[in-house]
Symmetry: C2
Subunit: 230 residues, 2 copies
């Protein structure tokens, strides 16, 4: 049976990182083609014998030399039949998080350069990548409230104030720090370590750790993580 279909399928990854009170996005400069020298999301065509997940992980490795700490399918963009000016391309977009933007980025293959950009200071993007990024940004903001994905953006051990700042920064809101602390600690999914922050100024502060196994166990028992703001 011959299916006369002429549509190509690609994957794209929207990778978020958090550093110095800024939400960052990973972009790569295109090396070839009509979008040469333009910034774009990491991505490329799926190989015939490759799963979608394998394709996105391969592109992350090839174009930026990184592994991510969280990856999930976001949405498939196929309602604009002219989103790629060359030919019809449907893109399965993935949402990814890394726990440090200090990762060493190594552009390879199709990418000229890989770089983190603060979400407030983005360059013009190729194709419809600005729209895709907006969908991912909203997903991040919404997910932060009902899934503990914030920890995938922080180092293994973090200051409580870092966690607070991450919520304020990404949700673009002031939070009631006292209530936030009380609520977050009440879940029983983070714990104080014996380590202190290495910062020089002020009183040394305890470092915290996310108890992922505990969260997974509680989740299975029906626990719902939820952070709401007034």
């Amino acid at each position: 049976m011959e299916i006369g279909q002429n549509i190509k399928i690609a994957v794209d990854a929207i990778v978020f990182g958090y550093e110095g009170n800024k939400l960052n996005v990973l972009l790569v400069k295109q090396k070839f083609g009509i979008m040469k020298n333009q910034w774009a999301l990491v991505g490329g065509f799926v190989k015939d014998d490759e799963t979608l997940h394998a394709a996105v992980n391969r592109e992350l490795k090839e174009e930026a030399g990184i592994k991510v700490s969280y990856l999930e399918q976001l949405y498939t963009f196929g309602d604009d039949v002219k989103r790629d000016p060359r030919f019809r391309v449907i893109s399965v977009a993935y949402f990814a998080l890394v726990n440090s933007t200090r990762l060493f980025l190594t552009a390879d293959s199709d990418a000229e350069e890989a770089q983190w950009f603060p979400i407030k200071e983005l360059p013009p993007l190729a194709y419809d990548h600005k729209d895709i990024l907006q969908v991912a940004h909203k997903r991040l903001q919404s997910k932060l409230r009902y899934q503990p994905i914030g920890f995938d953006l922080l180092p293994i051990e973090f200051l409580f104030s870092d966690l607070e700042n991450l919520y304020c920064t990404i949700l673009e809101k002031e939070i009631d720090r006292r209530n936030f602390r009380k609520k977050m600690l009440s879940f029983g999914i983070i714990e104080e370590t014996d380590n202190f922050s290495p910062r020089k100024s002020g009183r040394p502060a305890k470092l915290f750790r996310f108890k992922k196994e505990e969260y997974n166990k509680l989740s299975e028992e029906g626990f719902l993580f939820e952070i709401s703001f007034a």
Copy 2:
């Protein structure tokens, strides 16, 4: 630029309907090919110049003769490269609701027959459609709690007890009817009409109506619909 990719893209629709205290799924019997006479989800290949949404609406019309009251993208299935034994097919699955399964179904084109099946009494399904259906079923159960999609499964005017039964049936739980009623009415998104149910037995009961415009307005202002169960 030539992309040597040999992957086809399809859409599939998981259509849920509710009738007589049962959650039903729309299936079609395959007319052609290696899955001939097997039951499957409504679906088919995307045309080159057709958006994904247009493709799924076309398949719903061609294979079952229906329009749905709610449609959203569910997930793209492309991690099993052998999910179609003929060749590689990636499927963008859509989640759909109809407000009556008394709709007249008219199988056409690729479908031999279209029929509603109670979710508890499904026949064997073609391809990986059982897995796709499971993902959709979980999405329905989860969405029912934080989005008023239950109304898309009911007629425009409904008995309050129908709404209660719908929640009990789909979530497979007993609910505290008094609390449920109080909570649901407190949102201000449903109203009593002047009409009574046409049932013969017992005291006639008022019919209710979902105020969709009011819900949309409240949503924009930050209102969160949420039904939780003990």
